[in-house]
């Protein structure tokens, strides 16, 4: 008897945690080291200006004001919108105007383009999002 594959949905290596604590599996961010500095980590507080659910990488834009009052808008890259959704993050969970604490690896050349490591709404204990280490093993086993 043949084993029918039918509509088997199969995936390698994703992990699913409860909604209260979301961790993004680092799904083979292609060329992380060509863009971001994994040895540096920024720790900042700011106000969300935009949440962009677009492929290939979702982005959160955050305004950060320095001591002199100058404002820099950070372009923070996450995983694909589909993967972030699968971990429970809803469309309305983060809105422009929300105040957030975040950690990120800066771009090697463009410092305000960053790879998001962790983000928490100010006043909440649990992070909305937390990424594994940038040098986690890549998902693809073809390397």
């Amino acid at each position: 008897m043949k084993a029918k594959l039918g509509v088997l949905l199969a995936v390698v290596g994703l992990s699913y945690l409860g909604l209260s604590y979301l961790s993004v599996p680092l799904l083979a961010h292609h060329g992380f080291d060509t863009e971001y500095d994994k040895d540096q980590k920024l720790t900042l507080t700011g106000v969300v200006t935009q949440v962009s659910w677009m492929n290939p990488h979702m982005r959160v834009y955050i305004d950060v004001t320095d001591k002199e009052g100058a404002v820099t808008n950070y372009n923070c890259e996450l995983d694909s919108p589909n993967n972030v959704r699968r971990l429970g993050w809803g469309k309305n969970d983060l809105q422009p105007g929300d105040k957030v604490d975040f950690e990120a690896n800066p771009g090697k050349i463009v410092k305000n383009r960053v790879a998001l490591v962790k983000i928490t709404k100010v006043g909440e204990d649990k992070p909305l999002f937390k990424r594994g280490k940038p040098d986690d093993p890549k998902q693809s086993s073809s390397k």
């Binding site: 594959l5 088997l8 995936v11 290596g13 863009e35 290939p56 771009g107 050349i109 463009v110």
Partner: protein
């Protein structure tokens, strides 16, 4: 395969090509298809298509949208086309059949544009892959993939992938890579940019009020 073992199997021209390739130049980072076996490990769904004559097609769907939308496996007993009718493509021409409980997918007709891996391992249009899918239990799918390219490698290469079934209710979703591909800008280059105009990228990337 042990680290470095793949290197030893490359023909000299292929080694040289690979040594000159930069990660940023892979077609995939510009949202072009990944090809086989690069696409294989990603989330996947097999969809069988029947007519009154039985199973005619299996579509292998991957989520990586425009860089891996679907592969078409002809299950109706046909052979591969003759050379004059075989136009090279990103995912090739696939025919399949059942060997007991094993699904066999035989593919030729790949173009040489995609990379075998992120390091830039090249291949030729002679590449031929044979995939053998088995399902030892409900939640596990095994793939043994043989890659045979006498134009680039000194012998065939074997890959083994293991898949776990996703929990019910999780589906593949739309993924249009081109809609907002900003790859490279943080690193001072864009995929199409030969040398990386760092200053231009810096101006493009920064925004201050």
């Amino acid at each position: 395969m042990k680290p470095g073992e793949l290197d030893a199997l490359l023909q000299p021209w292929a080694k040289e090509v690979r040594s000159k390739r930069l990660e940023k130049d892979e077609p995939y980072v510009g949202c072009l298809p990944e090809g086989v076996p690069r696409i294989n490990p990603y989330g996947t769904r097999f969809v069988e298509s029947y007519t009154a004559k039985g199973l005619t097609h299996i579509f292998i769907l991957h989520e990586n949208g425009d860089s891996g939308a679907h592969r078409q496996v002809f299950m109706d007993g046909r052979k591969h086309p003759d050379d004059n009718d075989l136009f090279p493509s990103w995912f090739g021409h696939s025919i399949g059949w059942w060997d007991g409980d094993t699904l066999v997918v035989d593919t030729i007709g790949y173009n040489d544009k995609f990379w075998i891996d992120g390091k830039g391992t090249p291949h030729t249009e002679k590449m031929h892959t044979i995939e053998r899918y088995t399902r030892p239990n409900f939640g596990t799918l095994l793939l043994d993939l043989t890659l045979d390219d006498p134009g680039a490698f000194t012998r065939p290469i074997e890959y083994r992938f293991q898949f776990k079934a996703m929990r019910p209710g999780v589906d593949l979703m739309e993924f249009i890579c081109l809609e907002d591909n900003e790859y490279g800008i943080a690193g001072g280059f864009t995929p199409a940019d030969e040398n990386g105009d760092k200053e231009k990228a810096k101006q493009q990337g920064e925004s201050k009020k």
